[in-house]
Symmetry: C2
């Protein structure tokens, strides 16, 4: 089969990790006799530097007509510490999510048997933990009106949600729960926020269409605690944009490294695949970044393209690299491999 | 010395734990020859049930004229699962914070030597962790305009902050950092939120007045991860209302139990002291709730009233109860004591 894949390496460690995924995808194409056409484009700080725009029109067009987008990372400290910067790398990613209508960000989290000792959490707390977080991705406070008063003395961000925005991601989450352990936890702050109450009401309604799925609710503060106290209680978590951002980064500690967590961002037409870690600027160019989160994101992409067997093959290669400890320094402290050598290993076993 | 203390037991386990603190405070008054006048008032779900108002006027008046408020907990599941309830227990607490101008919520977090094995985190990760979280408490999305469209199909919450709101809590946090390890971490989401950029800008400005304090910044998603990966890196954390709510509940896992975490909410005139755990409705009336968070909140109250030696005495009593394992079931699984017996023990050693 033939697919067009847009590759957006972005900033920081984005290029080096994405390169390994492309290598792995090429090996998959070879072995399974597919044709993947990769086309690269700029996004983020690098796009600002080169073209003055964190999401150049050409990049957006490429993504729109591609079958899937492989995304690296964006972000650069020179913007973080300049609160008055008008153009920021993150705007590129946010606009891309919005323009492609990628309303659901899907983040699986599991404890790898052989990495359990790496986690800051005790083994007995995380052994067997296995959840998927569904984060709403194109609404909420990320996209609401922002303003700063003329005198610069006050600022605001609006968080808003419509029933429709909640419904579409909720359906995906319920469907996933049906295929899994049939439990869905809505994380919100319904005791304080009006939007959370709309979430609770809407999700309760939709839950009636999925009678097999047990629905429960957690306030986000409690959820942040429960994620560490007892992560095994979670099967599918559904939550709004900002809470999902926080809770899923937190959940990365269960896997032993944030360098292992993949994600898929899906909409009705397009789909984008990215590691949940960021651009990790301190590590750029050092060959120490873990490519597995990106490679696992590529596996999600294969699934999305209907190539289940191919996706499974990539996941098995990743499992093998972890078992044999052919891993970067974040999970192999004593005898670590470089980003590229991990990629080479994966390529060699596909 | 003579002090008027307003006691607001509230809902769920609030009354049983608060009762132990009052017992302890009475023992302190006896031993150090003070006069504490305790006056009780209703707040939360119980106040709605009795008087139709989560913060009756008489309660507010009592708090305003008192030297300090000892607060239990509020919240009742019957409101949580009714998204259309007009009156909610939480409104009582939020209004109280606002009316008393309690703009800073101070939450110390530390790993108790003898409880380290209780934590879901590995000992080496938390041994020696010791931080204070300064959470802004009367601004942000908690207090911004809330609305639901007429057709009920959309809802919004506004997050807004002024420079002044940021400054006053920032000064308290910097002053605390000066007295501690001289590091202050601002937790925000400045790569996305306009309010966070105002925080970053304002706090950077104020930082210049505290040249001894090293200021750094963390995005809230990263902070939620760092809190577990390496909690020892934190000294003073400063953050806005919602992020503070999430991060501090998460941080409770370091202490081994949320039943150990005290807090002080201070303003220019008034001050309120409450455990960070909630009303824990499942445990109500069973005598299993941990009173230590409330008792430690009472110790913070004594500090606030200038009674340093007295506060120290209470903390030593708490340390002793933990060392001797005279503790409730959350931290003493095998041979636990009831809420009341823990209180009696504390009373007996003061
Ligand atoms: C880079 C940033 C805007 C982004 C987000 O907050 O959504 C990132 O943290 C993520 O989680 O994908
Ligand atoms: C009960 C609730 C409104 C409250 C809050 O979110 O502020 C609580 O979680 C807390 O942290 O004190």
């Amino acid at each position: 089969m033939k697919f067009n894949i847009a590759v957006l390496p972005g900033d920081g460690i984005g290029p080096e990790i994405t390169q390994q995924s492309v290598k792995v995808l090429k090996a998959v194409a070879d072995r399974f006799d597919h044709e993947f056409n990769f086309e690269e484009a700029e996004v983020g700080a690098i796009a600002i530097d080169l073209l003055g725009d964190p999401l150049p029109e050409a990049t957006l067009e490429l993504c729109k007509k591609s079958d899937a987008v492989l995304f690296g990372a964006i972000g650069d400290p020179k913007y973080d510490n300049d609160p008055s910067a008008k153009v920021r790398p993150e705007q590129g990613l946010l606009k891309l999510r919005k323009e492609l209508g990628l309303f659901a960000n899907i983040r699986p989290v599991r404890a790898y048997e052989s990495l359990i000792h790496q986690s800051p959490l005790k083994a007995e707390n995380i052994e067997g933990a296995d959840m998927v977080i569904f984060r709403e991705l194109t609404g909420g406070i990320y996209f609401g009106e922002k303003s700063t008063s003329e005198d610069g003395k006050s600022a605001s961000d609006l968080c808003s949600y419509s029933v429709e925005e909640i419904e579409r991601v909720a359906h995906l989450a319920f469907k996933a729960a049906e295929e899994r352990r049939k439990k869905l936890t809505l994380v919100d702050k319904a005791n304080v926020l009006e939007t959370s109450r709309l979430w609770r009401k809407t999700v309760t309604e939709i839950g009636k269409e999925y009678p097999d799925v047990k629905l429960d609710f957690l306030f986000v503060d409690n959820a942040a605690m429960q994620m560490i106290l007892n992560p095994k209680q979670f099967d599918v978590i559904l939550t709004e944009n900002m809470f999902g951002d926080i809770i899923s980064d937190e959940a990365s500690v269960i896997g032993g490294s944030i360098g292992l967590l993949e994600s898929a961002s899906v909409g009705t037409k397009n789909a984008l695949f990215e590691p949940i870690h960021g651009s990790y600027p301190q590590a750029t160019g050092q060959g120490i970044a873990n490519p597995l989160a990106s490679v696992l994101s590529a596996a999600m992409m294969l699934d999305h393209l209907g190539l289940k067997k191919e996706a499974e093959t990539v996941r098995m290669a990743v499992d093998l690299s972890i078992k044999l400890n052919v891993c970067t320094i974040d999970i192999n402290k004593d005898n670590h491999y470089s980003t590229e050598r991990v990629g080479d290993f994966l390529e060699s076993v596909i």
